[in-house]
């Protein structure tokens, strides 16, 4: 152990397959052709938004397992989460798949917290195939955290758009030729007093910067060691703040810095500061980043997913927004 919350995986578990499913609006995403499945209906043809959320996650898990010529009955663990009340969509997914399940909530950082948990179970030899993932469905999340979808409130330029997407990754013991999980940093909750839920990027940036600095200082690595350092869903405002914050700590951001939220919908100004939601980071990490690693474009990447740990209740009671960021370091050997 090199520091508190810093994990080194000796067995370097691998991510052997991924599955990403998205809603119809995500056709606008530059990553679109890398997604495995797209639904023509925001509700996937089902009755409620929450059912759609569960269905997307269910399909993403099955797609990942299919790529391994496997099926849910052969998976050891299901480690997923979403943003709806008590994570009922994930619970229904788990019920349908019948895989031993732990629900995880780290808001939009669940993509990485689940990956870390899966890697830990694999590291101790208790799992041959663990599914990690996260999902969000635009309408179910908007109604949960903000206003009704059709309510005509003016959103500022700092606001982000919750994506409809689910991403799942199958974590197995080390396999040659697949991205392997080498190191991870468990985030510390950061709260610098931000209260605006329409500027989540600003609330999450300090958590991302903190985890970034802890990871690089703890493991004695440099920015140049990575082909890509990608944050989850900071959005335009948060991404700029994050780069300023790490600059204050003596790190100069370069071209390898990316943010899934900034890139998810391209330059479309309709989406204001960019994308957000648990599905945002998982969809991009498990499609674009995974694909680029498999293709050999990236040898070593650092993924830092951020989560705003607020609820409508805490916001209305005028509490601040505590935020977390978890990091995982992947490499191709």
């Amino acid at each position: 152990m090199v520091g508190r919350g810093l994990l080194t995986f000796k067995t370097t578990p691998s991510i052997m397959a991924t599955g990403v499913t998205v809603g119809p609006l995500e056709k606008k995403s530059p990553f679109f052709d890398q997604f495995d499945k797209v639904y023509d209906d925001e509700r996937c043809g089902l009755g409620t938004n929450e059912h759609a959320n569960a269905k997307m996650m269910d399909d993403a898990c099955k797609i990942a397992l299919n790529k391994l010529d496997s099926n849910p009955s052969k998976a050891d663990f299901l480690l997923i989460g979403d943003l709806v009340n008590q994570m009922t969509p994930s619970n229904f997914t788990a019920s349908a798949l019948g895989i031993p399940y732990i629900g995880l909530f780290s808001a939009c950082a669940t993509s990485i917290s689940s990956l870390i948990t899966a890697a830990l179970l694999t590291e101790v030899g208790m799992s041959n195939c663990a599914i990690a993932g996260a999902a969000s469905q635009h309408m179910s999340v908007e109604r949960q955290f903000r206003n009704p979808v059709e309510y005509g409130a003016q959103k500022p330029e700092t606001a982000q758009w919750t994506v409809t997407a689910a991403g799942a990754a199958a974590v197995t013991p080390y396999q040659q030729g697949y991205p392997s999980i080498e190191k991870a940093t468990i985030g510390i909750v950061n709260d610098l007093g931000m209260t605006d839920p329409l500027n989540m990027g600003a609330a999450m940036a300090p958590a991302a910067a903190d985890t970034f600095v802890r990871h690089l200082q703890g493991f004695q690595t440099k920015i140049e060691d990575y082909d890509c350092i990608m944050t989850g869903d900071l959005g335009k405002t948060g991404f700029t703040l994050y780069k300023t914050l790490i600059e204050n700590k003596g790190f100069q951001a370069n071209d390898s810095f990316r943010d899934a939220g900034v890139e998810f919908y391209g330059e479309d100004p309709t989406f204001l500061a960019g994308a957000s939601g648990a599905g945002c980071s998982s969809a991009v990490y498990f499609s674009d980043v995974f694909g680029k690693m498999m293709a050999g474009n990236y040898k070593r990447v650092l993924l830092i997913a951020t989560g705003a740990l607020l609820s409508p209740l805490s916001f209305q009671q005028k509490d601040t927004i505590p935020c977390i960021a978890h990091a995982v370091e992947l490499s191709m050997k």
Partner: protein
């Protein structure tokens, strides 16, 4: 025809006041609308809202301020006839077409529409 011009200008200006409450005072839409309703009610207490309606027509009756005005106006009209008791009865007698229309059309909408997450 000048009523059309004043309706546009007065209605627009009341909305600008609301926008300033959003942007400068950083109030939520709900806080802004509640404040405007209270302002409308107080203006009627000073007898200033009715002249505004005469001047601007729909420019004064369409913004939410007129909702506060309508309620206050009803309460005061009854109070004039029946004293203190009239304040209560008058307010309950006020049939706001805004509320009943919103309830009716809101329910109808829930029967026929589904929300779409389109940008």
């Amino acid at each position: 025809m000048s009523i059309f011009i004043t309706a546009f200008i007065v209605g627009g200006l009341i909305c600008v006041v609301g926008q300033l409450m959003f942007d400068v005072a950083k109030l939520t839409p709900a806080h802004t609308l509640c404040t405007l309703v209270v302002i409308g009610s107080i203006l009627d207490g000073f007898g200033m809202y009715e002249p505004l309606i005469d001047f601007a027509g729909a420019g004064a009756t369409i913004p939410i301020t007129s909702f506060g005005n309508a309620l206050t106006h009803g309460a005061m009209a009854e109070a004039e006839k029946h004293g203190i008791i009239g304040v209560l009865t008058g307010m309950f007698e006020v049939t706001s077409s805004g509320i009943s229309a919103a309830i009716l059309f809101g329910f109808i909408a829930s029967l026929i529409f589904k929300s779409e997450g389109k940008a």
